[in-house]
Amino acid sequence: MIKSGINTVKGPLSLTAPTYLWLAFTVFLPLSAMFFFSFLNDAPFGNKDVSFSLENYEAIWNKQFYQILLLKSFRLGLEVTLLCFVIGFPCALILAKNIKGHWREAIFVLIILPFWSNALVRIFSWTMVLRGNGIIEVMLNWIFPGYGDFSFMFTYQAILIGLVHSYLPYMILTCYVSIQAIDDSILEAARVLGAGRFMILFKLIIPLSLPGIAAGSVLIFIPVVGSFMEPRILGGREGTFIGTIIEDQFTRVFNWPLGAALSFLMLFIILMIIILSNSLSKRLR
């Protein structure tokens, strides 16, 4: 890094100012506004009288079902992240180590391609696959005549499938980047020294690709906790999560302060988790 003398302050300031002013106006100020909003008792539009009150937070504290929903959503986030890891890590491993050259890049692009299709439509397509008289049921009846009803729709599992399908590429991508950086000679050396396959996997490969796994987990866990499209479309009566309740407050019920309070609470918990896992990983290292 070279300091350019007189321009030390002016240079970076003028270059970064536009970006951070923009972010301040569109992200930081709105978040503060939301925090402020959560302490109002009603949306301050039209001719309503509004005043400060803790009633939103009180409601969340008293009504058990908000807490249950928060737990449910975080559990969903955990399960999806775990599934993506279990399914995606081997995929990344195979891609990085087993496939060579030309093919490797082709398959890599193949895996990223679905990313570029519209997420909503992909979820909707899952309904056509999973529903009664859908693709799977028809195929099952064709292979095993008289199989009868198959419908995975409107179950927790359907939501899991939809979410894992959406977020799997993230995990594969980040793990692939990490695994690829592992020097083959290290693995070769371990093998020569007599280490078995599983030992190499658990003691070498996984620890060395931890940054990729961590990045993938964060990219998956956080959006899943706040998701509402997938639960709504795939979940049926199991499809109530904190994300859908928050969406309700803004689009249907018009209780913006309550929505703000719930959002802020979710944000707070996520931040705590990030900070905790950060310090945990520092200790492990």
């Binding site: 039209g46 908000y66 449910k72 729709m153 009566r237 309740i245 249907r252 019920v253 018009f254």
Partner: protein, 354 residues
């Protein structure tokens, strides 16, 4: 930089961009309607007839619940022209300043409305018309006629364990609570025992396969065999049967049903108020209504003349016109804010329960 970004090309790029954008922004005279999807106002032939007669285009936006309709009015002022508002909510919309008075002199068919409906106190306040009575019907449930040898006559069939996992209920707090109130024999606009209602709803949840929130969803799930019976509206059941040829039978059970009267209102600061009046006039016109009910399926018309022009076998004349069948129907009316909030909470709790 590459030559493609030469100054000449930039100018022509900007010009074409401006032309595309302006063609999107500038549009002919139009009237903007906010309604349920597939609920009469957006029938292709009806809209075409209207545009041919008046030269005004019709643009639609939709909602899935009365709550959503109110939120859209609150958050998008000065955008909508015509809004469909359930008469039980017209008072609330008016007190919030979301709708303005309708000039009934501009509506030719207004005097043909049956007096009980046209002058309904929920729609006419302080001598001013805030909602033009349009159609009315009942909310109850409908069954897949291929699954029932005998069409049930009691609302308790929704709780019948025989159909566990094959029931669907609309995702709407007020409707769910009110139907349960009917099952328990309570007043739907002022339930006496909300706790009992909550418990009964909890036991209903295990029967439910999924919630539905739009007519299109109802039809999709029905076609996919996701449920055998579900809560539904009389007009929509008629449409599923007539227009989509599905084996749907609507039931008015002995315990009664929820009655509703829908009115067409004009939003405050509507961009095209005169167009709005013309459109409302067309909607209550017998020419529109008879075709709508016989070819597509619709609720009962508030226009007595229009109703009398229906064939005598039509559901809307035979069943809804029969006082004995509709003796236990309770009509939706304005509700206390407190009660409505409690209903919302009960429903949220039921949905979130494990």
């Amino acid at each position: 930089m590459k030559s493609i970004l030469g100054s000449m090309s930039i100018r022509s790029l900007i010009m074409s961009l401006i032309m595309i954008i302006s063609s999107v922004i500038i549009h002919a005279a139009e009237v903007r309607v906010l309604n349920w999807q597939g609920y009469g106002t957006d029938e292709k032939w009806a809209v075409e007839a209207f545009t041919n007669k008046t030269g005004i285009e019709v643009v639609h936006d939709y909602f899935n619940s009365e709550q959503e309709m109110l939120t859209k009015l609150r958050t998008t002022p000065g955008y909508y022209d015509v809004v469909l508002i359930n008469s039980a909510f017209t008072g609330q919309a008016q007190s919030e300043g979301l709708i303005s008075a309708v000039d009934s002199s501009k509506i030719e068919n207004f005097n043909d409305l049956s007096p009980g409906m046209g002058g309904n106190p929920n729609l006419v306040m302080n001598g001013k018309v805030y909602g033009v009575a349009w159609v009315w019907g009942v909310t109850s449930f409908a069954v897949d006629s291929t699954r029932f040898s005998n069409i049930p006559d009691s609302i308790e069939v929704l709780w019948d364990k025989k159909y566990a996992g094959k029931v669907s209920v609309r995702d709407d707090a007020v409707e769910a609570v009110q139907l349960t109130a009917i099952a328990l024999g309570q007043d739907i606009n002022n339930p006496s025992d909300l706790n009992a209602i909550k418990n009964k709803l909890m036991s209903l949840k295990s029967q439910v396969r999924t919630y539905w929130s739009s007519e299109d969803e109802w039809n999709q799930f029905f076609s996919a065999d996701e449920f055998d019976l579900a809560t539904y509206w009389s007009g929509s059941a008629s449409r599923s049967k007539t227009a989509f040829k599905l084996p749907v039978e609507f039931v008015i059970p002995k315990e009664g049903a929820i009655g509703w009267l829908d009115g067409l209102s004009v939003a405050t600061n509507a961009p095209n108020s005169s167009g709005a009046h013309k459109f409302i006039d067309w909607m209550i016109d017998p020419d529109f209504y008879v075709k709508w009910d016989t070819e597509v399926g619709a609720p009962a018309s508030a226009n007595a003349k229009a109703n009398s022009m229906l064939p005598s076998s039509a559901f809307n004349r035979a069943v809804l016109g029969n006082p004995q069948k509709v003796s236990k129907v309770q009509f939706m009316g304005p509700m206390d804010d407190k009660i409505r909030e409690e209903m919302l909470e009960i429903w949220q709790e039921v949905k979130a329960s494990q």
